[in-house]
Each structure stands twice: as C-alpha cells, then as structure tokens.
C-alpha cells in the first residue's frame, strides 16, 4: 500500500512563502480533506501532490519512493471545472484513458480491443449513474453529471491516489449530497487514497477520515495594517519572507470511518453494480 509522506516541505515563489514546514504522513486508504481560507495554499499543496509543482524544499514520498515530477497515471484528478474533454462523447471521455494506455501511437483503439474498452466504460458509466447519456457531449450535461463523468474517467485508469480539487464546489446542495454518496462508494470499493481540497467544512467532516486545516499567520503587510500593528517596513518584510501557511489543525474524524476491507485482490478495483442499483452505500 502507498502511504504519502511529506517531509518538511516548503513552497516558495521568490520571496513569497506559500507553504512551510509541512510534515505529514497520509495513511493508505484514508480520505483526507484539506480545508482552509482561500489563498492558504491548499491548492498549491494538491498541485505538488499532482506533480504539477515541485516543492522548493523537502521531499514528497509515495510508497517510499520520491514523487514523479509530472502528473501521471498513478494519481487521478478531478477539478472543479474543465475536467472532461468537451470534444468527446461521454463514452469516449471514459474510454480515452484506456486508449492512452493501450494505443501508444494513435491513442485510439480498434476492433476487439475497442469493444472491450467500450464495454468497460459502459459498465463504469452505469455505476456512476450516467447510463443512457453515453452519446452526449459534456456541454449538454448538468454540472453534477459532468463531475460524475470526471470521476468515472479518473477511476477508469485505476489510480492509487485520487486528488479532488473542490470537485463539488459548483454544485447545488441536493446534487452535492448525491455525489457525496457516489464518492464514498468509489472510495469504499476501490483501493484508493483520496485527498480532497474543499472550503466546505461540513463536507470535509462528512466525507473525510481526517481533516487537515491550513492557515497562514496574519502578518502580511496589508493585514498588519488592518490589525493596527505597527511594525517597521523592514521587519514586516522579514516576517513576510518567513511566513507561509502551515498545518494548524489535523485531526481524525470521529466516529472513526474506515474504508470497507476489499474483498480480494483481483476484484478490488471493480465498482460493484449492486450498490449502484439502490443499495445504501456503507458509512
């Protein structure tokens, strides 16, 4: 299993420290929710985990190995928007992951291989509740359906880590509740560690097994003015240079939630259709 370890990670842009002293071990199969005010670096944290940004100092280890420095198939992602390809049908959006994997040259499968990938994608679409929408383009889907599609697309490559960047932030409350059920089921039925950025605290506590809060000390120049502090310009700068956000709260959610033990190694990555058809997901 793959624990994710942050070993004294710093992220700086020039003089500006975004994150500092991040020491963190994320246990395999946990569902970590990152919360914090906007601009506190939680998205930067996720981007580092994605491989899109490199830490300025420190190391990120996954399963004991240094993280690859570019996004790759072992880490799936769902963003708040633009997660699916607008020029592909719903079905093709899910299939494309398999096509990237199996068809190096053309990125397109034909014949028997294509039929297999298509069957697999249809199965997955049914599991996320998009049956009957296979031939539509994403633009004609609602926001909630697009995120369901993005989830199906991401888990089709069976990543070990799934990163969610405010995935449900733009959805209505009712639709959000439905998709919470889906993401819980996906987490339960696949061998996944999920890291989710959100600014909805209740969402963080409802879904997460662990909630981590990021906060930045209030000592940026404009904030100093606001709080009426009277520091000289030089010393204010000195403080700014050394104050990124860091972890201020980190707790396991109670009552303890754990992912269902996976039935067996070979079926573990399969979404169970049974629970798609009405049965209550555990947890």
């Amino acid at each position: 299993m793959t624990a994710i370890v942050f070993d004294n990670v710093w992220k700086e842009y020039g003089d500006h420290v975004v994150l500092e002293r991040i020491d963190l071990t994320i246990a395999p199969r946990s569902f970590v929710a990152l919360v914090g005010p906007s601009g506190c670096g939680k998205t930067t944290f996720l981007r580092m985990l994605l491989g899109e940004e490199k830490p300025t100092r420190g190391k990120i280890l996954v399963g004991g190995n240094p993280l690859k420095t570019e996004p790759d198939a072992d880490r799936g992602v769902v963003f708040q928007r633009y997660s699916v390809f607008p020029h592909l049908t719903v079905l093709a959006n899910v299939m494309i992951g398999r096509e990237f994997e199996r068809a190096c040259l053309l990125g397109k499968l034909f014949g028997e291989a294509r039929r297999a990938a298509e069957a697999e994608a249809r199965h997955l679409l049914e599991a996320v509740g998009l049956k009957g929408h296979e031939d539509k383009y994403p633009a004609s889907l609602s926001g909630g359906m697009q995120q369901r599609l993005a989830l199906a697309q991401a888990i089709n490559r069976k990543p070990r880590i799934l990163l969610l960047d405010e995935p449900f932030g733009a959805l209505d409350p009712g639709i959000r509740a439905d998709i919470h059920v889906l993401i819980r089921r996906i987490w339960n039925e696949n061998s996944l560690t999920i890291v989710m950025v959100t600014h909805d605290l209740s969402e963080a506590f409802r879904l997460g097994t662990r909630v981590i809060a990021f906060e930045r000390p209030r000592n940026r120049p404009e904030e100093l003015e606001r709080y009426g502090a009277t520091l000289g310009e030089v010393s204010a700068k000195a403080i700014v240079a050394a104050s990124g956000a860091s972890i201020t709260q980190d707790f396991d959610v109670w009552p303890r939630k754990v992912a269902e033990p996976l039935p067996s190694a070979d079926t573990q990555l399969d979404l169970k259709l049974a629970s798609a058809n009405g049965a209550k997901p555990p947890g």
Binding site: A73, G76, V77, S83, G107, A150
Partner: protein
C-alpha cells in the same frame, strides 16, 4: 415597447436583410439610367442589359481566339490557386501552431520569429517572390501562403494556450504522452477553431491572389479585371467583382456549415 426589445421574426428578417441590397441595386439603376440618358456611350455605369451581354459573352460563348470560356477558365485558374494556397496554409498553421502552443521549447524557439515575420507586409515580398520563383503559379501560391499562414500559426498557438490547463493535466493523469495529448486532446479541439481563423483569412487570401494576378498572369479573375480596365470595360469589371464576392461568400458559408456538421460539440463547448 422599447426599441431594443423589438425583434423581427423570420419573414421580417429576410425582408430587412434584402432591403439594403435592393436599395443599392435601385440606386445603381437610377444612376446608370441618368448617365445613359445624357450620353448613350457612357462606360462608367453600364446598364444591367449591357452587363448581362458581357457576362453572356464571357461565360457562355467561347473566346474566338483561344476557344476558352473565359469566365469559367478565369474562375478555375483563380480558385485552384486560392484553394491550393489555403490548404497549404491551413496545414502549416495546424502543425506549427500546435507545436508552438503546446510545447514550451517550440514556443520559445519559434514564437518570436513567427511574431516578427507575421509583421512583414506580404505584398512587399511579392517582387522578391517573382524574382526567385518566376512569374508562374508558384510565386502566387507562395504569396498567399506567406500572407495567411503566419497569422494562422499565431492564432492556433494562442488558442492552444487558451485550452484550460486542467485538460492537459487531466490527460497526463490518464497516462497520455505528449504525442497522444497532441493527437487526441489538442488537435481535435483546434480543427473547428481553425475553421474560424481560416474564414477570417479568406479576405486577405483573395486580396493577395488578385494583387498577384494583376501584376503577372495570363488568366484568373484578377488578371481579367485589370486587363479590361484598359478599355474602361465596366460592364465586365462589375460582374466579375460581384462574382468574386459571391465566391468568397460561398466559401465562407461552406466553412461555417462544415464547422457545424463536422464538429457538433463545438457550439456547446464554446457557449460553456
């Protein structure tokens, strides 16, 4: 009701659209009739019948000297140059635009040179092209390609850069290589956008074609206009100009239809 809320229905839209055309035609006919009443040999504003005669002569009767139907021959010659050049331009723009927009290394290498080169006025290059490539078709095609391809490349590159970064990251997390991303994610999304860009470049393409034909040619729509200009043959020039306009309009319409039929997802994606 406020003026800005008054929307014409379909019938009215057609009628209103026809109105300026009818007004132009009426104004021409009046002007022509007035001048011809004063001087029946006036060449400046020929009557519609005179123009009809000229078109009949050029389009429906073979030229006694060459045996060719001149208007069709001119059209064929011009269109083949124009379409060849536009096809070359489009292909170049697609390849280089995607490379420059997608790969930072290519962008750093070729972005600036394309930016500078696209500022060269293409017509200023025409003498150079004639000197190097001779007065034949190659020089004319080269002029149109130079005049349109560089702008198209910049356009495609900008549109590639406009793709949300989330899409490219997402493709990577699905295990795609650079080549696969170019082929399956970027290229298909650029094709309908390229059609828009090509539509905007149709005007410049015609401009360069007619300019090149006017200077050195023995057939073509631009050649004919400049040839008969010597005889003040407005009865030929005006129908030719209308014909060129119609051809350009139809090309634009065809591209628009192609975009709608071949890329049904594009309208929705653009609105989103």
């Amino acid at each position: 009701m406020r003026l800005l809320n008054l929307k014409p229905d379909r019938t009215w839209s057609i009628a209103l659209a026809a109105l300026p055309f009818a007004a132009l035609l009426a104004a021409y006919m009046m002007g022509s009739a007035m001048r011809l009443a004063e001087n029946p040999n006036d060449k400046l504003l020929p009557s519609l019948t005179a123009m009809g005669e000229a078109v009949k002569h050029y389009a429906l009767e073979p030229d006694p000297r060459s045996g060719l139907y001149l208007m069709w021959n001119d059209t064929l010659s011009s269109m083949s140059l124009l379409l060849t050049a536009l096809a070359i331009s489009t292909f170049i723009a697609l390849v280089f635009g995607i490379l420059i927009g997608l790969l930072p290394i290519m962008g750093a290498t070729f972005g600036p040179v394309v930016g500078v080169a696209s500022m060269v006025p293409p017509l200023a290059l025409l003498p150079i092209l004639f000197i190097i490539m001779g007065l034949g078709d190659a020089a004319k095609i080269a002029l149109i390609v130079i005049g349109t391809a560089l702008k198209l490349i910049r356009d495609v590159a900008l549109r590639v850069e406009d793709l949300p970064r989330e899409q490219l990251i997402k493709a990577q997390t699905l295990g795609a290589s650079t080549w696969q991303i170019g082929l399956r994610v970027v290229l298909p999304q650029m094709l309908p956008r390229l059609i828009d860009s090509v539509r905007l470049e149709l005007g410049p393409a015609w401009l360069f074609l007619i300019a090149a034909e006017a200077i050195a040619s023995d057939s073509g729509l631009g050649y004919r206009i400049f040839l008969v200009r010597r005889y003040l043959a407005m009865d030929v020039i005006i129908p030719y100009v209308i014909w060129i306009t119609l051809l350009a309009f139809l090309m634009d319409l065809a591209l628009r239809l192609l975009q709608r039929k071949a890329f049904p997802w594009f309208a929705g994606a653009r609105a989103a």
